[in-house]
Amino acid sequence: MNLELSLFSMMLIPFAAAGLALIHQGLGRSRSAAHAMLASLCALAISAIVFVLFGASWAGYSGAAIHSFVAGGVHWDWLGAAPFFAQSISFDGSDAAGLSRSLVLCFELLAVGLTATIPLSAGADRWRLGPICFSSALLGGIIFPIFAHWVWGTGWLTQLATNFGISNFTDVGGAGVIQVVGGLAALSVAWIAGPRRGKYSDDGIPTAIPGHNIVQVLFGCILALVGWIGLDSAASILFYGAGAQQVVGIVINATLSASAGCLAALVITRSRYHKPDASLSANGWISGLVAGSAACAMISPIAAIEIGLSAGVLSTYLIEIFELHLRVDDPGGAVSVHALAGIWGLFAFGLFGHFPSGTREGHILAQLVGISALLGFILPLIYGGNLLINRWSTYRVDDDGHWHGMDIRELGAGAYPEFVIHADEFVPR
C-alpha cells in the first residue's frame, strides 16, 4: 500500500464536506445560513465521535472479530465485533497490522462525516439543531457502520462470489456507502420534517424559493471536486489495492464525470428555460461526482463521461419530479443528487466497469443485490430510526421559526446582521 499517497488523499476528504456545506447553505434562505453551516459542523463532530466510540467496532476491519449466523447453508457475516472505543487499533507503530487498521479508521471517520452532512440539504430552513445531532449519531453509530462493514469490511456483500457464485458487490469510492446512505437519510428527513412553510399552495402548486447565495454554491462545487478526488483515491488504495497509476485515472475520471454532469444539466436547462440554471448545473456537477465514484478506478475516461452525463440528465429531471409531482421539498436536491445518482453509479459499474475477474452478468447481478440491500434494509432502518428520534425531539421548527428563520430562532443572531432581510420574501399563499 502506498502510505504517503493514501494519507495525502485522505487529507483532501474534508474539502468534500466543506463543499457540500457551502452548497447546502447557499441553496437555503439567508435567514438560515449560519444555522446551516453550524449544523454541518455539528454533523461532522457528532458522527466522528460516535463512530470512533461505537461505529468503528461494527464497521470492523480485515481480521477483526465478526457477528455472523448460518442460514440456508451459507455463512452470513453481517456485523463487525471489534472492541469498542477503537481499543484494538494501536497508533504507536508497534503492530504491523495496526497501520492499515488505523488508516481504515481514519478514512471511515472522515467518510461518515460526509455521509452525515448530506441530509442537511433536504432539511434546510426547518430541521432543528438538536434532532440534527441525534440523527447524525444514528448515522455515525449504526447505519453507516453496518453498510460499511458489508461493503468495505468482510461483510456478506463482499462474499457473494464465494457463497453464491456471482461477483462481489463493488463500491470503490463510496457511491453506496456514503452517497446513497446519506441520500436515503435525506429522503427520510424530507418526509418527516415536511415541506417548508409557503413551499406549496393550498392547491399543492409549488412556489420557487431560490437559494440565497449561488456564488457559494458554485465555489462549493469546486471544493467538492478536490474532496471527491481524495475520497475516491483513498478508498481505492485502502479497499481495492489501487496503485499510483490508477489514482491518476481516478483524478481524470472524477473530473470528467463531474464536468459531463454539469454540462448535461446546463444544456437541458438552457434548452428548456432559454437560460442555463446555475443551481441545477451545480447539482449536475455533484451528481456526476457521485455517480462516477462507484467505479472510479475501474472505468475508462469515456465511460466516466457517459456515467456523468447520464447522472446530470437524471438529476435535473428527478429534482423537478420530486418537487412538482411527489411534493418532496428538498432544497438542495440531495435525494436526486446523492441517493438516485449514487444508485445509477452503482448499476453503471456493472455496465461499464473493467473487471479483474467474473462475468459482466455476474457483476450486474451483484450490483443489483447491493442496491436492493440499500433500498430494502438500510432505508427502513434509517426511516424508522429518524421516526423514533422525531417522536422524542421534533424535527420541524415551529411556525415562529419559519417566520424568523433558523438563525434567529435557534442561534439568536443572523448570519448577515448588517443586511436587511426581505420581510416579504415569505408570504403564505
Binding site: 457463497n163 411527489l326 443489483l368 430494502g376
Partner: protein, 59 residues
Amino acid sequence: MKLVACMMLLLGFFIVLVALVLLTSVGERSAFIAAGLGVEIQGLALLTQAYRTHRKEHR
C-alpha cells in the same frame, strides 16, 4: 400505509436474499432479483404516496 410500505421494502429485500440462496441458474436469479427490486420500488412509491396524502389531509 407507511407500515405496509416499510414491510414491502423489507419483503423485496427478502425476495432477493431467497433468490440468492435457493436459485442457481443466472436467468432465474435475475428474474427474482428484479422482482424483489420491483417490490421495493412499489414500497417506496407507497411511502411517498402516504406522505402526500398525509399532507393533503393536514392542509
